[in-house]
């Protein structure tokens, strides 16, 4: 029974993790870079949600549409200003982009520190638990996991079955080929980054419902998202889903049997094991 409960928790946790990873995956797939500020965006959104809920006592889920749209715009602007100038460079592009997002991360973290302080905060709402067939379903976990899966599924459908989504996929698979198909690759890059940051912000809104967040530890979320993406195979969407679920399950189990501190180390150990044993990740795509 305990095992079943751990599995349920793990799957629901994995659902939220999927959302964490997809934003990063999108950016990596289309632009070939890892956004180090990813964790900072998640944290900033989460802290803002905390403030919003404690001030207005409205449901945090109301924030999702406006924040998503605002982040689309902000992400697009950031990409144009900070990252597009680097897109033309050859070899040094990867490293210099890492540096820029590294700098951006600290700007965002400092902003969060100044507005929200350095303490951990979490939302006490949605902590009711439903009991179904003897298993406990925590309302926050269910909401986050379900919404995460829903948004992720919507993203997948958009990418696969709509013209605009397919244009984005095409750009990530072969930028030169995409250009010859008449796709505006510059616009695709901006869209990818904007979407990636919007997804990160949404993940933050949902994450604050389950986990405590704090400004100084924002980069641990970057690492966590990166671990999921790397485990799944960089740029592989289905692999990322599998990796997110795997991570959720393993953390759920380890957290119960070995305690909180061991739980923290799980992502890194999983990553190192995979890097040694199967570097291309769980998924099938290669890059």
């Amino acid at each position: 029974m305990i095992v079943l409960q751990l599995v349920v928790n793990g799957v629901l946790l994995g659902g939220t993790y999927i959302l964490l990873a997809q934003g990063l995956n999108l950016i990596f797939g289309v632009m070939g870079i890892v956004n180090i500020a990813h964790g900072a965006i998640i944290t900033l959104a989460g802290l803002f949600t905390y403030w919003f809920v404690t001030e207005t006592h409205l449901s945090p889920l109301l924030l999702i549409p406006p924040v998503f749209i605002v982040m689309l715009v902000v992400g697009g602007i950031l990409q144009r200003l900070l990252l597009e100038p680097l897109a033309k460079l050859g070899r040094s592009r990867e490293l210099l982009t890492l540096m820029v997002t590294f700098g951006l991360s600290y700007v965002l973290v400092e902003t969060a520190l100044n507005f929200f302080g350095s303490q951990y905060v979490s939302l006490p709402d949605l902590q009711t638990t439903w009991s179904v067939a003897g298993l406990a379903f925590n309302e926050a976990l269910v909401a986050a996991g379900a919404l995460g899966a829903l948004i992720s599924g919507g993203l997948y459908i958009w990418l696969r079955y709509t013209a605009s989504g397919q244009a984005l996929l095409a750009t990530s698979q072969n930028p030169v080929g995409a250009v010859t198909c008449g796709i505006d690759v510059r616009r695709m890059r901006a869209i990818a980054f904007a979407l990636g940051t919007a997804l990160a912000a949404t993940a933050g809104i949902l994450l604050i419902l389950i986990l405590p967040l704090s400004a100084p530890t924002a980069d641990t979320l970057t690492i966590l998202s990166f671990v999921i993406v790397a485990l799944g195979g960089l740029g592989d969407y289905r692999g990322a889903v599998m990796a997110a679920l795997l991570l959720g399950l393993v953390q759920s189990g380890v957290g119960y049997y070995l305690g909180g501190d061991a739980e923290v180390v799980v992502p890194y150990l999983l990553l190192i094991t995979f890097m040694v044993v199967r570097p291309q990740g769980i998924g099938h795509a290669t890059r």
């Binding site: 520190l113 980069d219 790397a230 960089l234």
Partner: protein
């Protein structure tokens, strides 16, 4: 804006006219005076200035450590603070539990940190650049957790150390550490060995093809970069008389170090020192007014430097002709060659043999049971339509691709267990279809790097000079590859191959994109390959007219299979060959 950036990044690394062996005497004198003056400084200054100077030295040492792995080797590390913390804890434990004197403890801690780097390196340096950067970021986090739970080192409460160090002692110890870290950087940027590090940074694959043991070089650089932060960590722990996990593995230390090194000039000799000096002094004035924005401003500075002047202060100085890097081991003029290589002995044994070679990439069969050989004294051309598997064949012979079935034999022995850099050292040289030249090194240094790993042993300088004379690139010896025409770049690739003193050279489409005159120059070199000491040559080619008359034998591949072999004029008239290129008229 992209073009503007591109121009900034393509500033030539060296001054063409003034290559001289070793540093200028005046520069050395100034450097010695500065170091001695810095050492004697505590005698003349106030406590405040001493503290500021100590801070500058602290960050300079950290920046020099970071510079080696991130700037010189090209593996960006966002977690060098891990070594800082390891050094801090190791020093403290040695002093508290083993009674070791503090300066000795710091040295032992540095050595221990080097060992940790060696172990970490075997896992992490196999990863791509992004993985390594984020892996290091995560490492610092893991270490905080581990340290917080480990009672022997004080767990979350940390360790308290007896206050024993005077400010002057700390200053002098930091001064020694900075001099040491600077010396390491000098070694990496100006020695023959250090050329391998730059080669790995610029073109890791090509470096492997000219004999550089890339894994070992990367690990050595990583170890070197771990020494300074560990020593600094030990000294800082003692100065503060207290360490605990958050302060020992504080990620904002990484941010500051990266900002300073980037601002000064990443991957340069003077960048870390200049950047630290300027930014610590400026910061001192600033932080009084804006204490809450320090991290944000550093972040903005990183972004601004990357977008506006990625070469840092040193990069800007280079544009005015200052602080330019001098080419490594370059004599005042290119020496004429007194001892050219011996002509290759005669004989007809098989140099390279490929037996039933099959290479599959997922579902695609690139090579399907191909068998061929290259014998001593002959030049073999390998032709075929695109997708025939020609480059895959070369990649399998040189070790860049693993065969799915079949074997590759060099001078009678199987090479399947021999890594690519060793095959190069044993005498298999190759050029690349798209020239992979080390862009931040001069023509001379590109060739010298290969010569260092050549079979000939002895004087690499002379071997490199001979190679450049042979391909007639001597006039351009101090130019960067970006200034060469495509034909000249291919000749440089040939010079690199010749510098290895190879037994066999594999040329991958060397004639592509060359003018008739340039083709003529290469043909002249290829006609006399036996006199140059090379036993055999194999060339993959599309420009058949350029190699048909100088080849002894021609092999044709079509969709992974060998379809013809023999004298060139017979092969070129073979109906199967014509059909593979032009298709069938039905």
């Amino acid at each position: 804006m992209g073009q503007w950036l591109e121009r900034r990044l393509s500033a030539p690394p060296t001054t063409p006219a003034t290559a001289a062996r070793g540093p200028r005497p005046l520069a050395v004198a100034i450097l010695v005076a500065v170091i001695a003056g810095a050492g004697a400084m505590p005698l003349f200054t106030s406590a405040y200035v001493l503290q500021l100077a100590t801070d500058i030295l602290t960050f300079a040492a950290l920046a020099y450590g970071w510079n080696i792995i991130s700037g010189c080797t090209g593996y960006l590390s966002f977690g060098q603070v891990s070594f800082f913390g390891i050094g801090a804890y190791a020093t403290s434990v040695l002093v508290l539990r083993a009674g070791v004197p503090w300066y000795l403890a710091a040295l032992i801690a540095a050595a221990f940190s080097g060992v940790v780097a060696a172990l970490l390196g075997t896992v992490m340096l196999r990863l791509r650049g992004i993985m390594f950067a984020l892996g290091m970021l995560g490492l610092a986090r893991i270490l905080v957790v581990v340290a917080s739970d480990w009672n022997y080192i004080g767990a979350a409460g940390g360790l308290t150390l007896p206050a024993e160090l005077t400010p002057i002692a700390v200053y002098l110890a930091m001064w020694v550490t900075v001099v040491g870290a600077f010396a390491l950087n000098y070694f990496v940027l100006h020695s023959g060995w250090g050329l391998s590090v730059t080669g790995v940074r610029d073109e890791e694959t090509a470096a492997s093809a000219i004999g550089v043991p890339t894994a070992r070089i990367k690990t050595a650089a990583f170890i070197m970069s771990a020494l300074a932060p560990a020593a600094v960590g030990g000294l800082v722990a003692w100065n503060r008389s207290f360490i605990d996990p958050p302060s020992a593995f504080d990620p904002t230390l990484d941010l500051q170090v990266i900002v300073f090194a980037l601002f000064g000039g990443i991957g340069t000799l003077w960048g870390p020192a200049l950047g630290t000096l300027v930014l610590v002094i400026v910061g001192e004035q600033f932080w009084a007014y804006l204490p809450d924005l320090q991290l944000a401003l550093y972040g903005v500075l990183v972004i601004a430097v990357v977008l506006a002047f990625p070469g840092g202060v040193v990069g800007i100085a280079n544009r005015f002709g200052w602080l330019r890097r001098r080419p490594v081991l370059a004599p005042t003029t290119l020496p004429s060659v007194s001892r050219p290589p011996q002509p290759a002995p005669l004989g007809d044994e098989t140099i390279i043999e490929v037996r039933d070679l099959t290479v599959r990439f997922g579902g695609l069969v690139a090579l399907n049971g191909v068998s061929l050989s290259v014998r001593r004294g002959e030049m073999v051309s390998i032709i075929g339509a695109n997708g025939a598997g020609k480059t895959t064949l070369f990649n399998a012979i040189t070790g860049f691709v693993k065969p799915s079935e079949g074997g590759v034999f060099y001078q009678g022995k199987s090479v399947s267990d021999i890594p690519s850099y060793q095959r190069a050292r044993q005498g298999i040289a190759r050029t690349f279809q798209i020239p992979r030249l080390m862009e931040s090194m001069t023509v001379w240094e590109n060739t010298l790097l290969a010569a260092r790993y050549g079979k000939r042993g002895g004087d690499a300088v002379e071997q490199a000079a001979w190679a450049l004379h042979t391909v007639k690139l001597d006039a351009l010896w101090l130019e960067p590859p970006s200034k060469l025409s495509p034909g000249q770049q291919r000749r440089l690739e040939m010079a690199r191959a010749l510098a290895l003193d190879p037994t066999v050279i594999l040329l991958d489409e060397v004639m592509a994109g060359m003018t008739r005159d340039e083709q003529g120059e290469i043909r002249a070199v290829l006609r006399h390959f036996r006199e140059l000491g090379v036993a055999a040559v194999a060339g993959v080619e599309h420009v058949i007219s350029a190699i048909a008359d100088i080849s002894d034998r021609m092999i044709v591949l079509d969709r992974g299979k060998k379809i013809a072999e023999g004298k060139p004029d017979a092969v070129l008239r073979d109906p199967l060959v014509i059909e593979s290129y032009l298709g069938k008229v039905s």
